[in-house]
């Protein structure tokens, strides 16, 4: 259970970015966050996983303040955050290594993760030799091979072609079904938000706050993307966005 | 065997007897275990002495007095070299580019020395002995002797006060020697031992006996020691064969007057605040 209580954040320059943002995400739930570029979505995720401290409010994970350096809330960073001095395999295995898992097991799991994102055979390459989308897939694999208590995804599929993207959306859903890990997905695609978010949050304003939210009980199911419900919600969200942004 | 006596030396001609005594086992024959520790400059030798890493050393009187002033437990046990009319050890030499200079025509000529050492005292004594008027020589500090030598040969400085064998080398390159230490009648360098060694009669006697034996051997067969002298006294290649074999006087203690002469100069220069009693400088009799 991930809970944010009335978060507020301003940067050293003095600009207030976020004000009064609250959210709750129970086991087996999911949340999609939409918002205009620069409104503070990444900042919000940073606070949710403890990488950045809110100036106001608090973030609780299973009732306890979230702390950085625990790996409890794994995040896929918008800029991937791969370490240039580690091979692709080592980058994927990094979270497992930190969790104390032995070399043989973590390499095996990392290899499986790479297969899942379609990067078989690239284990020994350096991140600098990968294309943008390949780097993003390594970052996805790195988060997916872990067993966090919450998963935070910052525009995780933004650099992928439609086919790969759909495959990995399915992978995310499968993982979520299997383990019930709640996730927060930041995305710019309304379609993606409606397909993957059990609840959809619109951030907007200056400072940004939760401007609107939509419940989406049918999300992620088999044929959802061809349903009337899906198209309706997409249209509804888009209309709200056009008004707000 | 006996505890090692580490004895600091410089690469100069005056140390030949010590080198002979060490190489030919003369110290060992007297039951002493003397190890010569070589230093390139007085500064580091003094520091080693002061930090108790040496049990004795070869050096000039000024350094010795300064060391004793700062509390180093040290006694002069003998003069190593004193100026003598038949042999020069230091001299004032002109640059080859200023070969025409004479004592009479000096005027505001730069002379490179190194301050607070025997060099400065020697210059002072030479000015007096050769009646060089004040202001005729302008001292210029150049600590490193090789640099001093090179600047002289290149004509960057007019004169330099140099020890042998560099003096002869400068002369061979066209410099003129204007003044030497030959008639100054003063002790220049000394041998010192730590208090505890100097106070031990037997050790002191053995040390001096070995030293005397080295002197005897050098005097008997000087040419046998040419190679050793060239090596330890850093005689330039071109002078190696022509350079005279140095002669050394029997060991003796400096007199209280000789010490007083040096101390007076040091007091005047501010190197000493008050005189050090003679008894503090030589082994208790």
């Amino acid at each position: 259970m991930l809970e944010a209580r009335r978060l507020g954040k301003r940067f050293s320059g003095g600009r207030e970015i976020l004000r009064d943002v609250s959210l709750r995400l129970g086991q087996g739930e999911s949340l999609a966050v939409l918002g205009p570029s620069g409104c503070g979505k990444t900042t919000l995720l940073y606070m949710l996983c403890g990488l950045s401290r809110p100036d106001v409010g608090e973030v609780l994970l299973d009732g306890k303040p979230v702390r950085k350096g625990t790996g409890d809330a794994a995040i896929i960073l918008q800029d991937f955050g791969l370490l240039p001095w580690k091979s692709v395999l080592d980058n994927v295995a990094l979270g497992l290594k930190i969790a104390g898992i032995g070399r043989a097991e973590r390499n095996e799991r990392a290899r499986a993760g790479l297969v899942e994102v379609g990067l078989t055979g690239r284990e020994r390459d350096w991140p600098a030799c990968l294309s943008g989308g390949e780097q993003q897939r390594v970052a996805i694999a790195r988060a997916f091979v872990m067993s966090p208590r919450a998963l935070l995804l910052d525009e995780p599929f933004s650099s992928l072609d439609a086919i790969t993207r759909e495959k990995l959306q399915a992978t995310l859903l499968a993982m979520w079904r299997r383990r019930g890990v709640p996730y927060v997905l930041v995305t710019h695609s309304v379609e993606e938000a409606v397909y993957l978010g059990g609840r959809i949050l619109l951030l907007a304003g200056d400072p940004a706050g939760v401007a609107d939210s939509f419940d989406n009980p049918g999300f992620g199911s088999e044929g959802y993307r061809n349903s009337e419900e899906y198209y309706g919600l997409v249209r509804q969200v888009r209309a709200a966005m056009e008004e707000l942004f | 065997g006996a505890a090692t006596i580490r004895f600091g030396v410089l690469p100069v001609l005056d140390t030949l007897p010590l080198q002979v005594a060490a190489r030919e086992g003369l110290f060992a024959a007297k039951g002493l275990n003397v190890e010569l520790v070589s230093f390139m400059s007085a500064l580091e030798r003094d520091t080693a002495m002061q930090t108790g890493r040496l049990d004795g050393y070869f050096g000039d009187l000024i350094a010795t007095l300064l060391l004793v002033k700062t509390g180093a437990p040290l006694r002069v046990v003998s003069i190593a070299y004193e100026s003598r009319p038949d042999q020069r050890m230091f001299g004032l030499v002109t640059s080859p580019h200023k070969a025409g200079l004479t004592l009479g025509t000096l005027s505001q000529n730069s002379v490179s020395i190194s301050r607070a050492t025997i060099m400065e005292l020697l210059l002072h004594r030479m000015e007096a002995a050769y009646a060089i008027p004040a202001g005729a020589l302008v001292p210029l500090e150049v600590k490193k002797i090789p640099i001093r030598m090179q600047m002289l040969l290149a004509g960057e400085i007019d004169l330099a006060l140099l020890p042998e064998p560099l003096l002869s080398l400068a002369e061979s390159k066209g410099g003129t020697v204007l003044a030497t230490d030959q008639n100054l009648a003063m002790p220049l360098t000394v041998l010192c031992l730590a208090d505890r060694l100097a106070a031990d009669r037997a050790t002191l006697e053995s040390f001096l006996a070995a030293y005397r034996e080295a002197l005897r051997r050098i005097a008997a067969e000087p040419e046998n020691y040419r190679g050793l002298m060239a090596e330890t006294g850093r005689i330039p290649l071109e002078l190696r064969d022509s350079f005279p074999m140095y002669r050394y006087l029997d060991p003796r203690l400096p007199t209280s007057q000789e010490i007083k002469d040096v101390q007076d100069w040091m007091l005047a220069k501010g190197l000493l605040a008050q005189p050090i009693p003679y008894a503090r400088l030589v082994p208790a009799s």
Partner: protein
């Protein structure tokens, strides 16, 4: 691994550099006269002669031993410390004043203390070189680590890394190139300091050889010593380069 061709090209460039340096030297020697600078061909001839003697290589070996031990020692101490200071503002704020206050002290004046504590042997010589190197390694490494992009630390922290793992997985690899820069700098510095520390209580080492021949104005032998130093320096320098290529392979990637 690079090809034999590129290695041959490198040797070729070294030879070219040697040739040009030799020409410049020759010209300078002509202008200045031989009282300070012997003609290069004479120095080279003397070097070739000396390089065949065991004595020369004893000097070389003694200096190499001292330089390499000092570099290792300095690196082991200063590199981790530099990473710590570069990685933590707090540690840096606390320790920086010590560095900036003591760094400018000419370390030579600490010689008495070294002699007191370590004696006249190799220990004090190595410690003296190491001390001087350590400051340089510290400053270079710290400044380098300060420049590490924060996103790398965020990334590892978000995976659950504590301070130790951030140190091992981010700061350490990010600091490595700077550590190598420091080592490269150190080759020159340690050789320069050798020149100083080999002036006492030893009769071995290239520094000793140089000072001793300088003292007797034996320029040919002195330049043999200088050639030896240069050779030692090139070996250390290229060794560092090689090591860096092995250890920091990731830096040589990603060009199109």
């Amino acid at each position: 691994m690079r090809s034999w061709r590129s290695r041959a090209a490198k040797i070729g460039r070294y030879l070219l550099a040697l040739l040009l340096l030799g020409l410049a030297w020759k010209a300078l020697a002509e202008v200045l006269g031989s009282s300070v600078l012997p003609p290069p061909e004479a120095a080279l001839a003397a070097f070739s002669r000396d390089a065949l003697t065991a004595a020369f290589w004893r000097h070389f070996g003694a200096s190499a031993f001292r330089a390499v031990s000092a570099m290792l020692l300095a690196w082991l101490i200063a590199f981790p410390l530099g990473i710590l200071m570069g990685g933590s503002r707090r540690i840096d704020a606390l320790l920086s004043p010590f560095v900036s206050l003591t760094y400018p002290i000419p370390k030579i004046v600490l010689l008495p203390i070294f002699l007191l504590l370590l004696g006249l042997g190799d220990a004090s010589k190595i410690a003296m070189i190491a001390l001087i190197l350590a400051y340089q390694i510290l400053v270079t490494t710290r400044d380098g680590v300060r420049g590490v992009h924060h996103k790398h630390i965020d990334s590892v922290t978000s995976l659950g890394a504590g301070k130790l793992r951030v140190f091992l997985d981010v700061l350490l690899p990010a600091a490595l190139p700077h550590g190598f820069t420091a080592l490269r700098l150190g080759t020159g510095v340690s050789v320069a300091v050798l020149f100083f520390v080999e002036s006492f209580a030893t009769q071995t080492g290239l520094g000793y050889l140089i000072i001793d021949s300088w003292g007797s104005l034996d320029y040919l032998r002195m330049f043999s010593g200088i050639f030896g130093m240069s050779l030692l320096g090139v070996l250390l320098y290229e060794g560092t380069d090689l090591l860096e290529r092995l250890v920091c392979a990731w830096r040589y990637q990603g060009r199109r």
